[in-house]
């Protein structure tokens, strides 16, 4: 089969699924099964979570013998497509893990059950975590874990470069990057993505800290604001000055280069702590995390995952019980122990490592101010325009102002 045919086939396999989907939707929605009846609920979880959740599910079943939890791990790379196909075919699992960026899409598809706010209380969770599960003021997902990006930096190399404190603002960060390169002999100063899909995730720390946004609360595109221009100029200057690598291939993993000292700084999520401890033990104690260096203030992006219940599920009551188990204080602390995913439930931070570990406190502090992306169904497309603007600047093809002006006019056409 030629590639066109193959591409076409994939596309239309979706269409076929849709056709069957209509009938599936029509036939379901029967009587809901009560939580105390014997039943099996299906759960999809992505990546590492999918693997670890199996153990939790077993324990849950031991405590609640009438409910069998069947977990299917799904790879992140196929997660989106799989969820969309399942939504179309009406075969979504009872419970699914969903990234914040998916929420708008699936809410628009009308396949998610609204969150029962009597059971799950907004004020128990980080604001950014809760708002990720919200679309147009209606909550569809219960925050499961949160993440945010902070600055990872090599303390040993910083000492070599004559710097003893973590950079707290843009100037200090760039000075440190320069010093790393000049005095400590590192190949680069800071690792940020120059172009390609999701470059915007690196840019958020700059954009939000400068007080900029892509789309504001009123739903208007504001990416050409002076704050955004300033942020992109700062971002681009790292490439101009040779402090950051202009050519980073898709799938690049910074951890190795951080370990061998070629890259002394990068913006990373909580999972990088585990990756560094396990994969680069030779630099244990030679690195630290710091809050995102501030311009107006220190604001990072908020990410993470929520748990949603499918509208078609016949086991909503049991699904709710299971989600409650995963997101209450005890379940969240236990989940942290297993995965090092940061609890979305703030009460879980009151004890153990979560209360004492200084690295974790950096994350908690960042999380208090972190900003989540608006839940728009075409958010991927909107951020793609920002990705392109960033690429133009980092490749030296346009000024920050011109690139963002173009992005602004394109995004205006997308936010209606």
């Amino acid at each position: 089969m030629s590639r066109t045919a193959r591409n076409a086939t994939v596309g239309i396999a979706t269409a076929v699924a849709l056709t069957f989907g209509i009938t599936a939707c029509g036939s379901s929605g029967g009587d809901d099964v009560a939580a105390d009846e014997k039943q099996t609920i299906t759960v999809w979880a992505m990546g590492a979570e999918g693997e670890k959740l199996t153990d939790v599910a077993e324990e849950y079943t031991k405590a609640n013998p009438n409910i069998t939890v069947k977990v299917t791990p799904v790879g992140w790379d196929v997660a989106h497509q799989k969820l969309v196909s399942a939504a179309a075919a009406g075969t979504l699992p009872d419970v699914a893990q969903m990234g914040g960026s998916y929420m708008g899409e699936f809410a628009e598809l009308g396949v998610l059950e609204p969150v029962d706010t009597k059971t799950f209380d907004k004020k128990d969770y980080f604001p950014a975590g809760w708002s990720q599960g919200e679309v147009d003021g209606q909550a569809y997902g219960v925050p499961w874990y949160v993440d945010t990006r902070v600055l990872y930096y090599r303390t040993d190399l910083a000492e070599k470069a004559g710097v003893t404190e973590a950079p707290s603002n843009w100037k200090e960060m760039q000075d440190l990057a320069t010093a790393y390169q000049k005095k400590a002999g590192t190949k680069w100063g800071l690792s940020i993505q120059p172009s390609g899909l999701d470059t915007v995730q690196n840019f958020y720390s700059f954009l939000y800290s400068a007080g900029g946004e892509i789309v504001n609360d009123k739903g208007e595109a504001v990416i050409d604001s002076p704050e955004a221009v300033k942020a992109l100029e700062e971002y681009g200057s790292y490439f101009d000055k040779g402090l950051s690598n202009k050519s980073v291939q898709p799938g690049y993993d910074v951890v190795k280069d951080f370990g061998n000292g070629r890259v002394p700084m990068f913006f990373g999520g909580p999972w990088h702590v585990t990756l560094l401890n396990e994969g680069q033990p030779q630099i244990k104690g030679k690195w630290a995390v710091a809050n995102v260096p501030a311009d107006k203030s220190s604001v990072s992006m908020a990410g993470g995952s929520s748990l949603v219940i499918s509208k078609d599920s016949e086991h909503k009551a049991a699904a709710k019980e299971f989600i409650k188990y995963l997101t209450d204080t005890k379940g969240q602390a236990d989940w942290y122990e297993r995965t090092k995913d940061l609890p979305a439930n703030t009460a879980a931070w009151a004890s153990g490592d979560l209360a004492d570990d200084t690295n974790l406190q950096v994350f908690k502090k960042q999380m208090d101010t972190a900003k989540s992306s608006p839940s728009l169904s075409n958010w991927t497309e909107i951020t793609d325009k920002v990705d392109q603007a960033i690429a133009k600047v980092t490749q030296g093809k346009a000024s920050a102002e011109d690139a963002l002006k173009t992005a602004q006019s394109e995004i205006e056409g997308l936010v209606k």
Binding site: S2, R3, A5, S247, D384
Partner: protein
């Protein structure tokens, strides 16, 4: 392209070999007298045996192809995934929009670039390698054949790992060679001018084996008597190549050119794994563009229109190639 290999080799043999028999399907001659009586049963059995294929064909080929065509005239988007019948017919709007879409035009240009440079290189090098392997090297011939064919059967992910190492500007293979002589290697995948040639190099390396197999099959079908006769008449190696090999290889050449062109017009995997279309869309091909519009942004209608434009382009070029190259053989 890869999946076509075995079939391609077969039909190349059939085309190239003057002695090769005609289609094995055969005529009705063999069935003779019992034909009338058993026709109903035979027909039934025939249909029964073809049912699995027919069902698969209808569901996974015919239906999608027609559905894509229908979708290309609608504004099929994300919300239509659950409510397909709500999609609105918008006539030729998608097609009109395509030709004002800078990104699409750029991807069309990139694809043309890929084909215009890639096809002659693949065919030319494939022919050279095939001729060398067929005549030149007596020892370790199998080893070299396998060597050139290996990339064809290697998964693209493994290929990407190897090529990233080769092209890495700071500690890759080429960078190492450059620094040996005191030069700095260019940043192949990060440069707008070099990214596409790098993709082409990769594709040529990957597809050379397919073409080579076709040519070797074609070369071996040339009767030795013809060559011996030419040599008796005093033809040198070049004359033999020009006067005997190339003309007798023409059907294979035509076939190889057509399938390579079709494959390259569809190029997707190389830019997908290596550059994601970057930097600045310099390696964005039509297929990759289509994939992104369809599956990243859910502009299904628009992506379907793109698929059909690509289909028309491929058909046009194929017909043209068949005309141009075939007439010469007569």
């Amino acid at each position: 392209m890869r999946t076509m290999t075995s079939r391609a080799a077969e039909s190349a043999k059939a085309q190239a070999g003057p002695g090769a028999s005609t289609s094995p399907a055969g005529g009705p001659a063999g069935r003779g007298g019992g034909r009338k009586r058993s026709m109903g049963v035979q027909n039934l059995a025939g249909w029964l045996f073809s049912t699995p294929f027919l069902v698969l064909f209808l569901v996974f080929m015919a239906f999608p192809i027609i559905a894509t065509l229908v979708m290309s005239f609608t504004d099929f988007g994300l919300r239509n995934v659950t409510h397909p019948l709500d999609a609105e017919f918008i006539g030729f709007d998608n097609y009109v929009k395509l030709f004002g879409d800078e990104k699409f035009l750029k991807s069309l240009f990139n694809t043309a670039y890929f084909v215009v440079v890639g096809v002659p290189l693949t065919i030319g090098l494939g022919l050279v390698v095939a001729v060398l392997l067929n005549n030149g090297i007596d020892r370790a011939r199998t080893f070299f054949r396998v060597g050139f064919y290996a990339p064809v059967v290697t998964t693209i992910v493994a290929v990407a790992v190897v090529w990233r190492f080769v092209l890495d500007p700071s500690d890759g293979l080429i960078a190492g060679l450059f620094s040996e002589v005191g030069l700095t290697a260019p940043d192949f995948l990060g440069s707008e001018t070099l990214a596409m040639p790098s993709m082409i190099a990769m594709a040529v390396w990957r597809n050379l084996g397919t073409v080579m197999v076709l040519f070797i099959a074609g070369l071996q079908a040339i009767p030795t008597e013809v060559r011996e006769a030419a040599r008796l008449d005093g033809a040198g190696a070049w004359q033999e190549f020009k006067g005997i090999t190339v003309p007798l290889l023409r059907p294979t050449l035509l076939y190889a050119t057509v399938i390579t062109t079709i494959g390259y017009l569809n190029v997707f995997e190389e830019p997908f794994v290596m550059t994601q279309g970057g930097p600045s869309d310099s390696t964005l091909t039509v297929s990759l563009n289509m994939y992104r519009e369809g599956f990243n942004f859910f502009h299904m209608g628009y992506a379907s229109a793109m698929a059909y434009v690509l289909f028309v382009v491929i058909m046009g070029i194929t017909v043209l190639q068949l005309r141009l190259l075939k007439d010469n053989t007569k």
